[in-house]
């Protein structure tokens, strides 16, 4: 079995301020349990919710990082990365079937929003806190989508594609203990993101994920 080959983006690309093309309002409301056709808000309640949304957005600075790494597979659970690093996970191995590379990505909403969520909870204003929490979670998720789209645009010209979905440490048998390695490979400290001894990213509204890159665009098929 040969080792991984080099990838064009060997270094980490950082994004100090990700501006989402659109705010995932529907996803935020859905996360809060809103169901179209069922949930009814009075104008005042709608205003209050939107005020909390606006406040959340003013506190969030989305940052991200991504790197492409070549991969090689061994057996049913081993994913070999450059530098001798290894992920061991059957489910991740299956998820990455067909990938020639992976992209590791990380995103954070910053520390201010976490502090505000805590502050609102301590003040007994859970109605505001849950909205701030939902906005933070959904925008960080959207930031990962954004990073995925960025990588897709980079690899398209190479005739490759980003595979559907992404996988995070802590899912299935891809242990959360891989988080410190991902944190290190992405250099997330640069974005103000640390990892504690429980392998949890700090600040809380930070995530990492793995996606596969496959060689996949057959453009000469139709003539």
């Amino acid at each position: 079995m040969t080792g991984p080959r080099a990838s064009p983006m060997a270094e980490v690309r950082y994004f100090d301020a990700i501006n989402l093309p659109s705010f995932p309002r529907e996803a935020v409301y859905r996360r809060l349990g809103y169901r179209r056709g069922k949930t009814v808000l009075t104008p005042r309640q709608g205003e209050e919710t939107e005020k909390a949304v606006a406040r959340a957005l003013s506190l969030i600075t989305l940052k991200g990082a991504v790197t492409r790494l070549p991969v090689a597979f061994a057996g049913e659970e081993t994913i070999r990365l450059p530098g001798g690093h290894v992920f061991i996970s059957r489910r991740l191995r299956r998820f990455l079937a067909g990938a020639e590379e992976i992209c590791l990505m990380g995103a954070t909403a910053g520390a201010e929003i976490g502090a505000a969520i805590r502050e609102e909870q301590e003040a007994g204003r859970l109605a505001v806190a849950v909205v701030l929490d939902a906005v933070a979670s959904e925008t960080v998720d959207a930031a990962l989508d954004w990073i995925g789209a960025y990588v897709a645009a980079q690899v398209r010209r190479e005739g490759k594609r980003v595979m559907k979905g992404r996988f995070s440490a802590g899912y299935g048998d891809f242990s959360l203990e891989n988080q410190p390695l991902i944190h290190e490979l992405l250099g997330l400290e640069r974005l103000g993101v640390g990892v504690n001894e429980a392998c949890v990213l700090v600040p809380e509204k930070s995530v990492t994920a793995v996606a596969g890159i496959a060689g996949g665009v057959e453009e000469e098929t139709v003539r």
């Binding site: 349990g33 010209r157 057959e218 453009e219």
Partner: protein, 807 residues
Amino acid sequence: MRKHGNRKIKGLMEKKVLVLDGATGTELQRLGMPAGVSPELWCDRNPETLLRIQRAYGDAGADVIYTCTFGANRLKLKDHAFHGDVRDLNRRLALITRAAAGPRRLVAGDLGPTGRFVEPFGDLPFEEAVAVYREQAEGLLKGGVDLFVIETMMDIQEARAALIAVKELGDHFAVVTMTYEKEGRTLGGTDPVTALITLQSLGADAVGCNCSVGPKEMLQWLRAMAPSATVPLVAKPNAGLPRLTGGRAVYEMDPETFASFAAPFAEAGVLMAGGCCGTTPDHIAALASALEGVTPRRPARRSVSAVSSARAHKVFEAHQPLVVIGERINPTGKKNLQEELRRGRTDMVRALAREQQEAGAELLDVNVGVPGIDEAATMVEAVKALAHVTDLPLVIDSPRVATLEAALRIYPGRALVNSVSGEREKVETLLPLVRRYGAMFILLPLADGEVPEDFPRRRAVIGEVWKAARRLGFAKEDVVIDGLVMTVASRQDAPRAALETIAWAADRFRCPTVLGLSNVSFGLPERRWLNAAFLAMAVRAGLTMAIADPTREELMGIRGAADCLTGRDREGRLYVRRYGGGAPAAKGGGSPVQDPAAAVTAAVLEGDREGIEGLVRTLLETGREPREIVEGVLIPAIVEVGRRYERRQYFLPQLMAGAEAMKRGLALLEPLLGGDGRGVRSRGLVLLATVKGDIHDIGKNIVALMLRNHGFEVLDLGRDVPTEEIIRRMKEKRPRVVGLSALMTTTMAVMGEVVAAARREGLMTPFILGGAVVTPEFASSLGAAYGRDGVEAVRVVAELTGEKEEG
């Protein structure tokens, strides 16, 4: 050396729609280029393959062949460990295309993205981006390109840097095409019309879209761009959207279907059309055939009155509702803001921007003039900071040329410059600068340091400045005439002179107009009424925009009313939308004649935290007993809130608001409950904790609030609580139920450890588990109960304690 100059290319487009080439990367792979290499470096070593492909596109009918230099900038080449001469590489690659194109076809020097985002949206300094593209463009010029294409751009600021780099090398024909995601915005959030306004004003000779989508999706964007286009449009779509077949993505659109979009493209104003990913010489041949004989459709207009930010634009039209330019980012008279700017901070600038945007401003005036600071550097920092917090286009406000120049260069949109007056120095230095960066400008009708008091003299100044502007190539749509109102305190007819100027500019000169509204009341008391009245008069005179404070309700109200009364707000729709919600509900949530108990119930149902205490007091005054209010009014109300939540009629914030209102009502009544001798009745103590290693607790806190509302006493140990501590407190407090929360698969396992430790200590207290990753099956495997959410948790705890269910 170029074969075809700028004018010649424009001349060609008057006769036909120019055909661009198709995809190169995949053709190269088909002919043997290995995956993962730099196409540019490979072609440099294998020129005959590139020559073959590009000749094929020429033979297929392409009028324009792109050089194979998409990634031949120094930043992208670094990824492939290239340390050679970038200029010379571009020159060599251009020469290959020159040879392939022959004398009849045009060679386009291809500039692609660096892969980085340019400040303020990324870490690549703007001037470094300009230098990177300049280096590439110099090499391409030496290789004999006829024009430049800046393509597949996802960052409007990077596109600007590349365009500026090209234009600073000479009057070269420059095409800019952005790549838009399926939602119709670039990754940077720019929509096609905003990009068009920015790029065409900055000097792009043609603007359009390439890549990401097929022709069907791209057509809608081109149609959206057409009404605002002053330059030809460009379309270079993919061969449809790729479909996954056997694990690989395949572009399925055949050449004939691809070419069927030729006529609609031309109809939309596309004067340059080709193909991107998935297209082949066959697609280009079909397209060229379909475009034969098609009459090119020139842009409908020579200029457009519009400004833009990175992500939004505003078009100024006659008879539209008045545009408010927020005036508050101005340190005059604001000591705090002056101090902040001196310290190099922008927190207040950002807060003022947000506040004004929320209040309804559509543009923001930015002035950072504070004595003793580097105004140019401060303005640049303000512009960069604002790019992140607001989509509103900016009005750059400064009397200093250096400040305006620095701001216009970095501003990622089309700005409005405030202002250019009739002074010779301003006309001679500012106008060319504004033109260079394609901005609009406010024409201030004053000259020689004097404010002309009457309209005829103002008109004369306007005429002089306009003459100079026209010589530089400005159109009337690029100009905004300032009515220049002075304070009525010093001259009674000052407002009349301003209104006359506005009316003349709107009706006769036919360009947008602006007023610095609050000048009219300077030195007088209760300025707001004067400002508001003058605003209404100015709207009637034809005013387009006002520099004013959008947080003043009376101003915005008068603005809305004036728009409604003058017909600018058709059928008063905006007015009704803004004010048609009716009077806000009185505190307490109900009408004065509502039954006091019903009012308390309504307050819980509606989450009226502010009003509930007053309503509870009212209910107490009717003689209702505190315990009866708790058990007969509040608890049924919160139970109903829970039911509505479970039926999805309420979502989480409504559940929480109801619970918080309930909590406030309870807090008022609890001290009174001891009076009947029965004391505060507790349904039992519940111990809650988020387990060791887990810092998530919002769900647990929701459960705590709900349990307390339902009469349970709650001891919340917080988050990341060691197992030993939970056991110790169980022994000490003897709770009736213990609730554990975990949000991660790793900490879920700790729940098992806590339950096992409790049982080893002989503690048979029932457990209830919750958290995003916890399932009923997992809880059951530990012999514990499961609570999906706060409402269910209350029900489950009541069952575990044998307490009667309420409501």
